[in-house]
Symmetry: none
Subunit: 194 residues, 4 copies
DNA sequence: TATGAATGAGTCTTCATTCAT
DNA sequence: GATGAATGAAGACTCATTCAT
């Protein structure tokens, strides 16, 4: 179905989701408000409650939107590789690209924050958990593929360990005065894989 | 100075901090509101702004209160050990007790959530970062002491790695349908230390 | 469009403006508060922020409302004159009616106060200045018409001088123990025009 | 009595008055708040209510302080003249200096605002009126002296007229987009005296 | 199918004033 | 004589949600 043939309602819904996802990425959960979403989408305020039965609904959609986008970006990143990554360093950078996003290369807490806000925000927003689990599993598949391509044999447990290492490094780096979470994660991966 | 001789003003201030810290632990940052704090402390609404120049101020105090309490509990946990921990398993449990709190033994996301909400909440509340760094450093000292006592030689880098491993495991476990973050962390520590 | 057919929303908006304008006239800028306006209009508090994006917005509307009303009253006063005003005294009274309002005939500071509060309040409320300039210009047109009708030739500069004379007389009369600003202005006009 | 021998209480009172007067000049009546005054004076909040039975009391004192200071400046301005002012222009500038303050030479509404805020603010603050009358009378004496010195014979009525002209010109100039009230007043005085 | 209108509850914060010490 | 402590009332403004059309 082309964009042109997408029903108007669906298109508006998507516009709201995209607006909410943008707000979520920029300002965290607090920033996702009916008013703000409607304004960003250029749609009437009431359309937010018309298309989404509650704010939580809208937040779910936003979380999924952001997550799917990241997954797609990860997939694309993987596909653009002509052949297998050579060497540990290439594997590490690939892991970081997929886990933290390519934007994390620039340093700073902001580009990576969304991933951890969603994770840590889930217990207080139980409706997010199933969604997060699903997307987490898909991300793991992608990460597993990195090792497959590189020829490195890595068990599922080992993969989870490496993910944890990255996530823990990042979470702890978030409070640094000049945070560079990607570098922190890289250091730890290098120590483990090197 | 005994409790009885604590000046009244300081006692009220502490009551507000304790109330805010409780709300923070139970409901996250969003739950710390002037009204809620005042009600929980049984004090007038205006007392919250009398003792704290802004809500951020109060939040800072609450974060510090919770953090100091955890540190004190960790210190106490360490001191109650008659001699050195015997065996890897004991070391692991000790690590988990100090990092996640003894309450984490019961399972569930709630007991460990506060640690990660504070970490992940810091980038959007920059005034927390220095405080968090200070308390993080103190916690690392405590954790280092575990290894010293056990006779295991562990470098600072290695310690940070282990912390990251725990934190990453926890953060990823938060989205499980029946989260048991402590167990997840334990598994990873066992794999690394075992 | 009759009152009955005025859309409800517009009617409510007008009710708020009228309430604000009344408060402004009776109590000055300080008296225009969300609460007071809503109560006077018999509408919910939140309606004030629904119809006006800020208090300044509401104050602007109130200032314009009062100003337009005065201008309309001046216009009406002029139109009720069958023919030209005869004699200097009639011209003077007409000038005073338009500048200070017919209510000023009764003496007292209150009836004239609003004009000067708006003028003097503008520098600290810059958003009022354009509005005030516009209404000032329209008032000058009305005043010019008085002289045209009376057959007296008065240049624009001379008109501004006479306005200044009245305003200055009034402003200084405001501190008298039993203020009669209209009389003070009349005396000065008589001396200049007599 | 020298400053050193001024009783401490009186000195503090004066500090509060000076602080209030400064706030009044900078921010108008609204800016005179207990907290702001105390902070500016570097004194405890409660000292404001200890030395002044109410905020109105403090405002009165501030109004008087500012007024006396202006009068003193006017007196000084007059005394610094070696001989009589020569020519109408010199007289006009002198009038403007005394009425609007020498700061008005720089243009802008701010330097002259205080005079008109006090005048127009008096009807809603009746306790100010007697004070304002007294200071107004003293100012008139000063202005009369200008004409005496210059050799120009000007009746009391004429003087009041000239004052009104200046005040009216200023008040109307306050709403200009780039207000230069002194110039507006100068023009009118020149037309009348030239 | 949409949406403009509407609002009760709540947000943080300010303030004049009182009072015990 | 002086002031730290305290607070009820009010300030402007936001928000999720409902509802009539």
């Amino acid at each position: 179905m082309t964009a042109a043939s997408t029903p108007k309602g669906e298109r508006r819904r998507q516009a709201l989701v995209a607006a909410a996802a943008g707000l979520l990425a920029e300002g965290g959960f607090e920033a996702v408000r009916h008013r703000a979403v409607a304004e960003r989408a250029g749609l009437p305020l009431a359309s937010t409650t018309y298309y989404f039965s509650s704010l939580d609904d809208l937040i779910s959609a936003a979380v999924e939107h952001d997550g799917r986008q990241e997954l797609a970006a990860g997939r694309a990143r993987l596909d653009e590789l002509a052949d297998q990554p050579r060497g540990t360093d290439a594997v590490i950078e690939l892991l970081l690209d997929l886990l933290l996003g390519v934007a994390s290369r620039d340093g700073g807490a902001e580009p990576v924050l969304l991933r951890y806000e969603r994770l840590v925000g889930s217990p207080r927003r139980p409706y997010l958990a199933p969604l997060m689990r699903q997307m987490s599993a898909e991300l793991q598949e992608l990460l597993a593929e990195i090792f497959e391509r590189s020829g490195m044999r890595v068990s599922r447990e080992r993969l989870l360990e490496l993910i944890a290492l990255v996530d823990g490094a990042v979470v702890n780096a978030l409070i640094e005065s000049d945070p560079d979470p990607r570098s922190a994660a890289r250091r730890m991966l290098a120590a483990q894989l090197g």
